[in-house]
């Protein structure tokens, strides 16, 4: 895939928030790692990367082996090193926290090893021996990329259907630019696809250009990793005014193209999740004078991570807690957001109305769930738009599997990577006609024999 992004994208204004480690610093940090037995950090990682092992390899200057350990568990380890909320995953589980010493900078060390792997052009995996089986994947985000790569290691041909022209999913279009910029996600996607045997069809919407029935007919299995849909609307008056946008689509425009903030002095972001927090910090970073996050709950209950809000706050974003928007007002273009305070039951408190000036309003209150597109398929259960799957990503309809945001409702890249990989093995077991194999260690070993092992790049 040769994809070209404009060079004057708005996101290029941002520097990396967490600076990369140079070799000496990486060695010092790696040598601090205790190499715990049954290490808590491994269990905290959805992809169960053997973190002590990859860190020990950094400490001995075995960067090739270190990167291989990372990618063996998580083929998206390069982007995850940048975008994972390590504070609540591996780093949060580091035993040094118990010792009241700084935990190991696992994300930075993972970035160190994986960046070198990319810079050196190392390839670790080869496609497995061709099985003659074909798998369709809906979406080109982290879940599908991880699933397709694993399926290729197992020897199955893959075809990805992506409705957009850009692959990489939210990794390209949604990640906060001070963590990772879009081109890095595209480089990673190309690197994943370089295993070969993965056809990517962009600009194709399943259900429109390609029917579900034809997928079922033409492929041995289907993996749905379609992510989430359009930003949800609040349903208040004035939401159709110019200057009112969905946060996810605004972030995508900022990351993949140019945006004009020259007339924006005041911005209001509605919501309390990580998208709202990211958007607030991004607006401040792009020079917007005042950015107010409007959240209906108390600060302790926001779903956005405390460490992310604290960073946004330190960049000058402010918040109105326990407040909701009742209307956007203005002539043609939004000028104000009418607000009211709410009690702990989220009921408006009379007499607490207030008005915020706003040249830009971003709605960050969630995204449409795409599961409905599968509701016509008997056997697939969809609950409020989420596709219901078992622990292996199986939907209940033979041949149909799913993972990532469309099943978990919107989690991290690393969750999508883990779910895609798990589903790939379930698909392999099913299409190879060995349903009992999933829980059998002996055959799991023989299954590994079939995967394309480490190449000698």
């Amino acid at each position: 895939m040769n994809q070209h992004l404009p060079t004057n994208r708005a996101e290029t204004a941002f520097e990396d928030f967490k600076l990369p480690l140079l070799r000496d610093a990486a060695m010092v940090e790696a040598n601090r790692c205790l190499f715990c037995s049954d290490a808590p950090c491994i269990n905290a990682c959805p992809t169960h990367i053997d973190i002590p092992q990859f860190i020990r390899k950094i400490s001995t200057d075995n960067v090739h082996g270190s990167a291989k350990t990372i990618f063996e568990s998580n083929i998206l380890g390069m982007s995850c090193a940048r975008v994972c909320p390590v504070e609540v995953l591996c780093v949060g589980a580091c035993v040094y926290n118990e010792l009241e010493q700084p935990p190991i900078a696992i994300g930075k060390l993972q970035r160190y090893a994986t960046d070198i792997a990319f810079a050196e052009g190392w390839k670790f995996f080869e496609a497995g021996k061709d099985t003659g089986k074909r798998v369709a994947l809906i979406g080109a985000g982290p879940a599908c990329l991880a699933a397709a790569h694993e399926l290729r290691r197992l020897g199955h041909a893959c075809t990805i259907f992506e409705r957009k022209e850009t692959i990489g999913g939210l990794n390209a279009s949604g990640v906060a630019p001070y963590k990772m910029k879009a081109e890095r996600a595209l480089v990673e996607a190309d690197w994943v696809l370089s295993i070969g045997g993965i056809e990517v069809r962009t600009g194709v919407t399943v259900g429109e250009q390609v029917s579900l029935a034809s997928l079922e007919q033409d492929f041995d299995a289907v993996f749905v990793g379609a992510g989430l849909g359009a930003d949800s609307a609040l349903g208040i008056p004035g939401e159709d005014l110019a200057g009112v946008h969905g946060a996810v689509s605004w972030i995508e425009a900022m990351k993949l193209g140019t945006i004009d903030l020259s007339k924006v002095r005041h911005a209001v972001v509605i919501g309390g999740g990580n998208t709202a927090v990211d958007a607030s910090r991004e607006l401040r970073g792009l020079g917007v004078h005042s950015v107010t996050m409007l959240y209906r709950g108390v600060q302790d209950n926001m779903s956005g991570y405390a460490h992310e809000w604290s960073a946004a706050f330190s960049k000058g974003a402010t918040a109105q807690w326990q407040a909701v928007a009742t209307a956007c007002t203005g002539t043609g273009h939004v000028q104000h957001v009418q607000c009211v305070r709410v009690d702990t039951n989220k009921n408006p408190v009379a007499g607490t109305e207030f008005t915020l000036p706003a040249d830009l309003v971003l709605m960050a209150i969630g995204q449409a769930k795409l599961g409905r597109m599968l509701e016509a398929m008997p056997g697939i259960r969809v609950d409020r738009g989420r596709i219901m799957v078992d622990a292996n990503g199986y939907t209940g309809r033979p041949g149909w599997y799913a993972g990532g945001d469309c099943t978990n409702g919107g989690k991290e890249v690393v969750n999508a990577a883990a779910e895609g990989k798990i589903a790939a093995h379930a698909i392999d077991a099913a299409v190879m006609g060995d349903m009992g194999r999933m829980n059998d260690n002996r055959t799991a070993a023989s299954k590994n024999d079939r995967t394309g092992g480490a190449s000698h790049a």
Binding site: V28, D38, P40, V95, E98, L99
Partner: protein
Amino acid sequence: MPDLSTNTGGIQSPNPFWLASAPPANSGRQIQRAFEAGWGGAVWKTLGVPIQNVSSRFAGHTIRGVQAAGFSNIELITDRPLETNLREITETKKLFPKNPIIVSLMVETEVEWREIIKKSIDAGADGLELNFGCPHGMCERGMGSAVGQEPAINERITGWAVKYSTVPVLVKLTPNVGNIVPHGLAARRGGAHGVSLINTIKSIVGVDIDRFIPLPRVGNMSTNGGYCGAAVKPIALHMVAALAREKQFGLPISGIGGISNWRDAVEFILLGSSTVQVATEVMLRGYNIVEDMTDGLQEYMRTHGFDRIDQMVGKAIPAYTEWGDLDMNYETVAKIDADKCIGCQLCVAACHDGAHQCIHPQQDTRVPHVDEAECVGCNLCQIVCPVPECITMAPVDNGHSPASWNEFSHEGKPLRPKKGAH
């Protein structure tokens, strides 16, 4: 305030910290700066027939990220003209009359020894140190460790030095021998006033794995060097103690080998050294380390009730014995403090893979369980535990009277049942 002054074989020093004969004691200006920083004495880098050195002389041994935890050198004795060194000895003595300068010497013939000893003493040497230890370069020319490894030659040359010297003579011993005691006794028979040990250990510190050349690399070749630095301390402590506990020896000892701080110095003193010599740590960090050494030692003495260094010298020697005299019935088991444990389980891996498989992970907590009935009290878990005082080795009152292996073998004293031997 405890008194740090000390006496080694008649050489008085305001404190026990001397620069060892090495690059930090190469010139007058260096030693003067060292004395200004607080060093008690200095052993001037070995005088002899001036040599020429190679480029690339040192190499460090990095151990789990600690740079130069061990250190190696292939530098020889002084490469400066003898007259320059002698003149600077005189100048330095004038500036620092209370700080002893011990001049290290290495020549071949009796005539050479006589002449260089006279010149050194005329220049102002407070003592001499005979370099019978250098394990690289000089030994190939029949000097250094080539002398130190032959007790008869050691005794003969020591005898010459003592005969021609009017100041105390210390013999610097090489560790590159199977048993240090005969070499210390040879120095004593030769009439030495004391010994200093250890010199460096013959070694190859590493290999350049891209060029296939050992380290330090000189062009396309290398040679064996002398290993020193913090990593050699245990070897040095043993050799110092082996002489200190030898009843026929009885000479003062100037301890050398991996001393990096006051704590190391205390250990050498407790095992029989009355002065300690330092080189590598000064090479790595500079002369100012002596400030921590002196006030750390002083505070140790104050809190442990010592007024003078000589009260400390050899204090741990009575507790150094043969394995056969250890109490076999003394029993300890590991205890993990659950409140301090951080759940790293390094002890589990260490015990399972490296010891006796008695520390086990538990279901509902990260704090491991010690099966005390199986614990042999080896200390490995305590050694790997990253949390201070989390694991303690607790003595067990097992009801058995003390009994050593020798008492068991010769007198039939009963031993407790073995643990972990199934």
